[in-house]
Amino acid sequence: MVSVVDSRREEILRWLEDVKDPEVPVLSIRELGVLRDVEVSGDEVVVVMTPTYSGCPAMHAMEAEVVQTLARRGVPNARVRTVYAPAWTTDWISDDAKAKLEAYGIAPPGRVEADDLVPLRRRSPVKCPYCQSVNTIVRSEFGSTACKAILFCNSCRQPFELFKPF
């Protein structure tokens, strides 16, 4: 039998599906892996989150959005607790979410490789999200946000972004 607390927790998690990554608005913060848990104790609601990158400026926006979303649902005093361990990894992004990324025009992250000191351009090729060609090159290991790199497709002559395996 599901306890009252558990069903309350499930309900809040469902509401938080509305909170998207402002930089990648097709992913919810749960799909991104930033939302770790919700703790319910009486009237108190604590949302446990972990940052993607230490300096990710979107974190503040996501935390504020969590609090506002719950306030709109009648949870006035929700708090956000930030945890750092275990460190966020793109391996937490599900296959479904990766498909959403690709449909949005961002190449999804591959598995995180053990030897992360190998440059991206010496790794297995990344598939172009527009034409599926693997004839692509890394233009820059850093991109428009901390979580992305810039690539170029030689087949369709289109630059695109890669969600970095991290």
């Binding site: 400026p57 361990a85 460190a87 966020w88 901390a146």
Partner: protein, 281 residues
């Protein structure tokens, strides 16, 4: 702490002790008797100062991709600094936030190594400094990820992934510059020769490091020297560059003795916060 036992005096007497690496006794340097707090300031200030230096490249880098890269690395470092200084403020227990520590301390209260406060110079200078720092940073964070203080361990484990990404980038550039054109080789070697002396300070252990390490939440930095030397030598040789000779080795950043460059940098970095204290957006 040994500061109280050592008679440093003032004026010329103090400078002799400074050369010997002693802690200065100046009241304004504000060295606390909490080694964990001091250790966290060192970790935070290295990142804050280097992050700010890198941010000065924004809009000025030689190519767009590098402009983005340097800004991204700056963002990681400033983010790490924010987490570490927040923890430092909590450990200190005097109600200072990360912003208070970043924007309302003067140069003599900063604990970063002198290496990271040096002006950016040309692109080679910036890349070589970054490489020398990144190689050290990865080793530091590997140790700190096992710290007994769980918050520090978590911050370090996260920062380690970022630092490895930075090292991959700066090491690649070392090879491209050193093994590139005669001009890029000349500039990279000049930068390496100029910056090498400043790396010595990264490996000087003092009581702060020893006590923080003994308590399980700090690094005895001297023990990193051999691994660092090995890892940078490999890349420097691949880059067809020559390892500079050891000799002149400036120090003092860890106890608040800085080059004249830090004050100017802070004047720029802190002016907005000091003109509008408490402002937010």
């Amino acid at each position: 702490m040994t500061a109280g036992k050592r008679k440093t005096g003032d004026g010329n007497g103090a400078s002799a002790d400074w050369v010997a690496g002693a802690r200065p006794s100046t009241a304004t340097s504000g060295i606390s008797d909490n080694p964990f707090f001091e250790h966290l300031l060192r970790l935070g200030d290295d990142r804050l100062v280097l992050g700010h230096r890198l941010s000065e490249w924004c809009g000025h880098a030689p190519i767009l991709e590098e402009d983005i890269a340097l800004a991204n690395i700056a963002l990681d470092l400033i983010g790490q600094a924010s987490l570490l200084l927040k923890l430092a403020g909590e450990v200190e227990g005097k109600g200072r936030s990360e912003d208070a520590l970043a924007y309302f301390r003067d140069a003599i209260e900063f604990r970063n190594a002198q290496l990271v406060e040096l002006p950016n110079g040309d692109f080679a200078m910036t890349i070589v400094r970054q490489f020398l720092f990144d190689a050290w940073d990865v080793l530091m964070l590997e140790r700190l990820a096992a710290a007994t203080n769980k918050t520090l361990a978590g911050i370090a484990a996260k920062a380690l992934k970022e630092a490895r990404y930075h090292l991959r980038h700066s090491a690649e550039w070392m090879r491209m510059l050193g093994d590139g054109t005669p001009e890029s080789h000349r500039r990279a070697q000049r930068a390496l020769d100029d910056l090498w002396p400043y790396t010595a300070e990264l490996f000087i252990t003092d009581d702060v490091d020893r006590q923080a390490a003994a308590a399980g939440s700090g690094v005895d930095v001297e023990t990193l020297r051999d691994s660092w030397r090995e890892s940078v030598t490999r890349v420097i040789v691949e880059a067809t560059l020559a390892i500079p000779k050891d000799g002149f080795a400036p120090r003092g950043g860890r106890t608040g003795r800085h080059t004249e460059h830090l004050g100017r940098m802070l004047a720029d970095m802190q002016s907005l916060a000091r003109a509008h204290p408490g402002a937010s957006w």
